[in-house]
Point group: C2
Chain length 879, copies 2
């Protein structure tokens, strides 16, 4: 005969953790805990097969009734109570439990076994009539609702009437007598429907079991299964378990505990406890709980559980060890002491701070509980991110006035300014607030504590630059109206003037008035150790996007193994350089242009020398000039006039040039290698600066590995022409400098056509770096500066699962990447392939990069630790 | 023994047209003509095998010398002249001739056989000593240069000296005696190099043969073969052929003729003739040639060849018939009459006007010479284009002041205006000159004769709209500086003021000062007949892009089988509609928006009813609102203030809305279906207008086939949401109107992601229409409005073979289309696929569309005839 009922209790269970299919998740877990020797209130699980049978035959299988009866007897004997005993009644809970958790979808009934008789026993046992009758009326209501189908609100109406009658507002103001009267009214209501509340506990039990099985096919459960692809024929198990009470006197109580400190990760027992109380009392916060351990005590006059009930505490300590050894992770447990007897109600993996997550993972490896791979999987990349940036104290409740996109993590506070110049000149910390930022604003951004923009997406200029600087940034905050003229921004009725203090939270996108308490960032030894393990495990290289020697050094400190993207144009915006750059742009002949470029050459060379030195032994990818030239010219007439005067040329000439260079869609305009194709002398100068720098630094004994990257290539001919120039100049320079250096010339793949024609392009390109920012823009037709108008709506409505500028669109953009790699390596099997878009620092995207066989990812210095971890996780996940 | 020499002459040849491999193209052609019975000057061909042998062994194969000698004897006997005869010498030409034509790459020697003795015979025979000695000195110079390697310019120097000595400027002013003296000097020059000019004709002949073989491996020939993928081991043949002279007296002469009238295509013999002259005299234009036929005569006092030499003319007429019957196309022939004997020197396919091309093709089918497919292949799509637009008289020499992109064909003349308003108000024909145009300018564009812009590419707004209107347009004319303030445009030193008359040629891109004579357009019966045949042959459907009932009717007249793209937004720009549109945009609540949309509904419905009526029985694809909303708001502050006043709302509100809607890259911004997703009520209104129109027109007895097209889809969820709305509204309307209509809801595939995810998208889309304008923009990362800065340079430098906005980039964008169709049809095998970008009217792109299995192409009405022809040609070509 088949077995339908699986008993658990008293350190022995019929089932175990592996039997989820027939016991459901909850039933298997209860069995497992029991087998571990943890004192779990006894009970039994009716298998999922009964559910299937029930739906097939509209009846229960033969023998079930007997087995349930047997189960109840077991519980009674373990608890020393009897079901229906008017003196000291056994009460049980009846809960659903499918193979996978379907939280809140199916029904639960608590305190089953109460009736007009047994309620008295409960009153006696707890010495708390109010509790007893409240429990009773709750049970009646729950049962009537779940099993009999009486609408919930009809009971609520009666409750409201009672409170009105008594002239009180809160449930807690009602007395035992009131509850008792309500029970009568509830039963009358039930009767008025032609129904009846079963007074015998057995009848109650079978009613509840049937209701739980039926709830497998309620509307929301069916809907939930459809969404989560759960087969309808799995069915649910039913768990019947003894209720225990912590409010049965001074030898009773209830508490919660963590097996390690969830804030710091210290290997210490940590928790809270209330004497003579039920779990809900802890949650309600009416009484102040006591500390679990002596160590935890903050005042001499309070007692810990360790002192009040040393034996129980000892038992708990052993359970703690058992659970950790078994689950090999920090546990969050709930327990109840009923008349000197300890019961564990629940154990689950404990939530913890980022700091604790890292410490626990590393400690557990050292304790031999887990291996390094498991440790790697225990810490989320987001936790690493938290550790690297100051954050708003999670204990503080903030009231944001607006919410934008969380573009660069961390919290920052400062006075509001509206121009980059003001930021540069400010004596106090400032937050730079703009519609959007442009390369002209970089100095001001550097000076500001944080940046807030009303427009732009996750890869807008502000977002990219701020992340590169590791600076908090909120972008695309469309709710705020920035008014440069009035020097203020408005959100609804709130007006924030220049000089007002605000806080922005780049981790959440919140904008908050005034200052807010923060937790400072801190990299610990444990984190470093964990990341070293990650380095051993991961297959992907991790490089950094760094434009300056300072950023490069920072990136090395964070563990970057080279530079994946150095944007040469950022160098041109410096105050001492932009004049020569503008001269170059305003040149009317090649000769004039070459003269201006001559001035830029030594400055670029200097920068590159610094990058090479900082990356001794590691590759440095330098991208040739990329942005449209108009970005280097001032936009405002006043600034144009000033420039004209400074350069000694007519204002009209500048105005005409700006006009001539202006574009309707600059993103798709005269930029990238198109500049170098039309003005080869620019490429020539940059190549010269790169190789002069490389040769000179190499002579200092530094190992230089330059990789020259041609941006925005859409056809083989472009990279061919540019590569010819670079190679010619490289040969010339190395000849002259008398030293030979290994180098590569490659291309960014950031246009769909480049991915499609990758086979041809790889004939000329020695490496590929996927520029997924632009590739996402062109593949979706989304301007990263303009998506604020609809992408948030798309995400809200579920059209997009996430912002494709934040996490790679693996099925669309990703398919183009896959095609690009496949075709590129068909031509050149050893082709080095990486990613240098913002996605290079996003864990999901890194997993994708691992799967499609890239050689490395590159991200901003502050994300390097995250990428190291995420790359290791990808390796473990895809082993 | 192998045969090396193939004789031709006297209606019999050893070879024929099929023997190109060993005789070369020219040799095979001469043999073929001879076999046809056409009197070709006799000669022989030394086979390409000799060339191969020569390069392999550095000598000639055994027996060649004998065969050549034999060949020369044949020529002598046929011509009745003797090689080296001082009385009446046989002269020959020695020419190269490879399997495929390599024009001008190898060497040629004429008049071979002249020496100090034979020149006297030539003098006697022609009675023209000047001609004889000029021929002689030319031969010496050519031989010395080609065979002996004496540089050309050293002879030219001697000639210059002689002219100086004689005090004359032109060669024609030198006398026979002068040429005779020059021959002596030439020979001295040769001797001074240690070389000698061979006096015996035999020696000359072998020297020339060797030189021609050697020229197969000269530098430019090798280069040419590399470019055109011609194998080096093919080798060249050598053709030795008797020279004939038309200047041997009044019974001699020379002429050129077309077998049909090349201007009109009439089936009449047509040509020119000069008595006692050589071919170069006709070309030199010193003497006025006589007409070939009596019919051609324009004056009574001139004589035609038909009258002067009736027998020769009769012979020519027979040859004409023979050649046409053989080549089955109109021929352009050269002939010479030497002492009453007719010789055909050349026949080739004759160039003809577009008009003639069509007439000849159609006539020849009726004459049974060719079949319909061949007729279809005889006319180029460009010729059809010419027939549909007025063009600048090709006989007039124009001096353009600037050249832009030929955006919409045809020539137009008018006074320059700089604003659309001025164009609308103008009483005289105007040319609208702008930096670029925007939807606001459409009324002005409609009124203008033509449009000229300084910016933008082949698919910029101006280009697309002008083509749609069939109006001449030149765009991206970067050379002109348009100055709105001064009301003028400048090109170098030239300033063109408002009101000045200019002519633009949209076929070439030329901009010309003043008026220029033009040829009017004209569709003939023959063209209609040809296009009817094209319709029988083609597999692709041809639809039109038409936004108005007027355009739709026009498209039907041109043979369109439906509308492939109706842009609903063009309707909103009309003066009576834009207020409601603006109201909709400025609405702050959905309710306000719906109110404004209610006003637009009847207008849209009206438009759609017109479209459906015009397309009775054919499908009409209506695209939902596509452009970004800011396009509908005025850009200038003045206009914004006016609008505010008219609408009775504060100016600031409009300014703020414009600001809020402004985008950095509008092409990639809040447009297309993104509008309909965020504001479903817009889609709802448009769907209602479409189906109300469809139902009402259907009740009139018209067969309506609406296809609703969702633009700019990048993910399945977008088309899913939009389609749900359309289907819901369609059901509602059909229910209410009490009539059912078949319809489809589909999508444009105009973003790379849509092509990549076509399998998913096809789950929701019932048809695909490739929007190749935007697909090209996003695939290349080229903004069609901004490419003027580099695409012309790319084309000039050969990076791009053509403008990808004009002719589809088949290997890049095309590959995405291929992927899109493949994936789409995997999901929905019967998926209807078409193209509605500008490429739908480009013949090469149409060929591509045929090859990838599209169902139809759609183009502007004026290109429908071109597309019909091109589609038929694609079908024939890919049979």
């Amino acid at each position: 005969m088949r077995k339908y009922v699986y008993f658990f209790g008293g350190e022995r269970a019929d089932g175990n953790a592996k039997m989820k299919d027939i016991l459901g998740g909850k039933g298997a877990g209860l069995a497992e805990m029991t087998n571990l020797g943890v004192p779990v209130p006894p009970g039994f699980t009716i298998s999922t097969e009964v559910c299937t049978y029930f739906y097939k035959h509209d009846s229960y299988p033969e023998g079930l009734e007997e087995e349930v009866k047997e189960g109840m007897k077991h519980i009674e004997s373990m608890m020393g109570k009897r079901f229906g005993d008017p003196e000291n009644p056994l009460l049980v809970s009846v809960r659903s439990g499918a193979r996978v958790s379907m939280p809140g979808m199916m029904d639960t009934i608590l305190n089953l076994g109460l009736n007009d008789e047994t309620v008295k026993g409960l009153e006696k046992a707890t010495g708390n009539p109010r509790f007893a009758y409240d429990s009773y009326r709750r049970f009646v209501q729950m049962y009537a609702n779940v099993v009999l189908g009486v609408p919930h609100d009809e009971f609520e109406k009666l409750l409201e009437e009672k409170k009105k009658e008594k002239g009180v507002k809160l449930d807690t103001e009602l007395t035992a007598e009131d509850w008792k009267e309500l029970v009568v009214k509830y039963k009358e209501l039930i009767k008025s429907k032609g129904l009846s509340f079963p007074e015998t506990p057995e009848e109650q039990l079978w009613g509840a079991i049937r209701a739980v099985f039926l709830s497998w096919n309620n509307k929301r459960a069916i809907e939930y299964r459809k969404i989560h692809n759960i087969p309808d024929d799995w069915g649910t198990a039913v768990n019947v378990q003894a209720m225990v009470f912590g409010n049965m006197g001074e030898d009773s109580g209830t508490g919660v505990a963590f097996t390690r400190n969830p804030a710091t990760g210290e290997n210490e027992f940590y928790g809270e406890y209330l004497t003579n109380a039920q779990g809900e009392d802890v949650v309600a916060g009416i009484r102040t709980p006591l500390p679990l351990t002596k160590r935890q005590k903050t005042r001499e006059d309070e007692l810990s559980l360790e002192e009040i009930m040393p034996e129980i505490f000892q038992e708990l300590c052993e359970i703690r060890k058992k659970l950790e050894n078994h689950f090999r992770d920090m546990q969050d447990i709930e327990f109840t002491i009923e008349r000197g007897k300890l019961w564990l109600l629940q154990t689950r993996t404990g939530k913890r701070t980022a700091l604790a997550a890292v410490k626990i993972a590393v400690d557990m490896v050292k304790e031999g509980l887990i291996d390094k791979k498991e440790a790697i999987m225990r810490v989320t990349p987001e936790q690493i991110d938290q550790l690297l940036h100051p954050m708003i104290d999670p204990k503080v409740k903030v009231e944001p006035i607006a919410k934008g996109l969380p573009a660069s993590p961390g919290a920052a506070t400062g006075k509001v300014v509206f121009t980059a110049e003001e930021a540069v000149e400010a004596k106090e910390p400032v937050i730079l607030v703009r519609h959007e930022t442009s390369p002209e604003d970089v100095a001001g951004m550097h000076k500001a504590q944080g940046i807030l923009t009303s427009r732009g997406g996750m890869t807008s200029h502000a977002a990219v630059v701020a992340r590169g600087m590791g600076k908090p940034c909120v972008v695309g905050c469309e709710a705020i109206v920035v008014d440069y003229e009035q020097e203020e921004f408005r959100v609804g009725d709130v007006t924030v003037k220049k000089g007002d203090v605000i806080t922005i939270d780049g981790t959440t996108g919140n904008v908050i008035l005034g200052d807010v308490p923060k937790i400072e960032a801190g990299v610990t030894d444990e984190l470093n150790e964990l990341l070293t393990w990650a380095d051993e495990i991961r297959k992907l290289g991790v490089r950094a996007n760094a434009d300056t020697p300072h950023d490069a050094s920072l990136a090395r400190k964070f563990g970057a193994e080279g530079i994946g993207l150095a944007r040469t144009e950022h160098m041109f915006f410096k105050e001492d350089r932009i004049p020569a750059m503008r001269e170059m742009i305003l040149a009317e002949t090649e000769e004039e242009r070459r003269k201006a470029l001559e001035k830029l050459l030594p400055m670029q060379r200097e920068d590159f020398m610094g990058l090479f030195r900082a990356m001794d032994g590691y590759p440095v990818i330098i991208r040739l000039l990329d942005p449209p030239l108009h970005e280097f010219l001032p936009k405002e007439e006043r600034a144009q006039r000033e420039l004209a005067e400074r350069m000694g040329i007519p204002f009209e000439k500048i105005k005409e040039k700006v006009e001539q260079l202006s574009e309707l869609n600059p993103m798709l305009g005269f930029r990238g290698c198109r500049l170098g194709v039309v003005y080869p002398e620019i490429t020539e100068m940059q190549a010269r600066a790169i190789f002069e720098a490389a040769c000179r630094v190499a002579k200092e004994g530094v190992k230089v590995i330059p990789e020259v990257m041609v941006p925005l290539v859409s056809m083989k001919e472009e990279i061919k022409l540019q590569r010819e120039i670079v190679k010619r100049v490289a040969e010339e320079v190395m000849e002259k400098e008398g030293i030979r250096i290994e180098y590569m010339v490659g291309t960014m793949i950031e246009l769909p056509r480049a991915a499609i024609r990758a086979d041809e392009i790889a004939e000329e390109a020695e490496f590929f770096s996927f520029g997924t920012n632009d590739l996402t823009q062109t593949t979706f037709g989304f301007s990263r500066d303009d998506v604020g108008k609809f992408v948030p709506y798309y995400i809200e409505k579920g059209l997009l699962k996430h912002d494709p500028f934040q996490s790679l669109d693996q099925s669309g953009v990703g398919d183009l990447i896959r095609i690009g790699i496949e075709r590129g390596r068909k031509t050149r099997p050893e082709l080095e392939v990486g990613i240098c878009g913002e996605h290079g620092g996003d864990p999901d995207s890194i997993d994708f990069c691992h799967r499609v066989g890239m050689n490395y990812v590159s991200c901003s210095p502050y994300r390097v630790p995250i990428a190291r971890l995420a790359a290791a996780q990808a390796a473990v996940r895809n082993e």
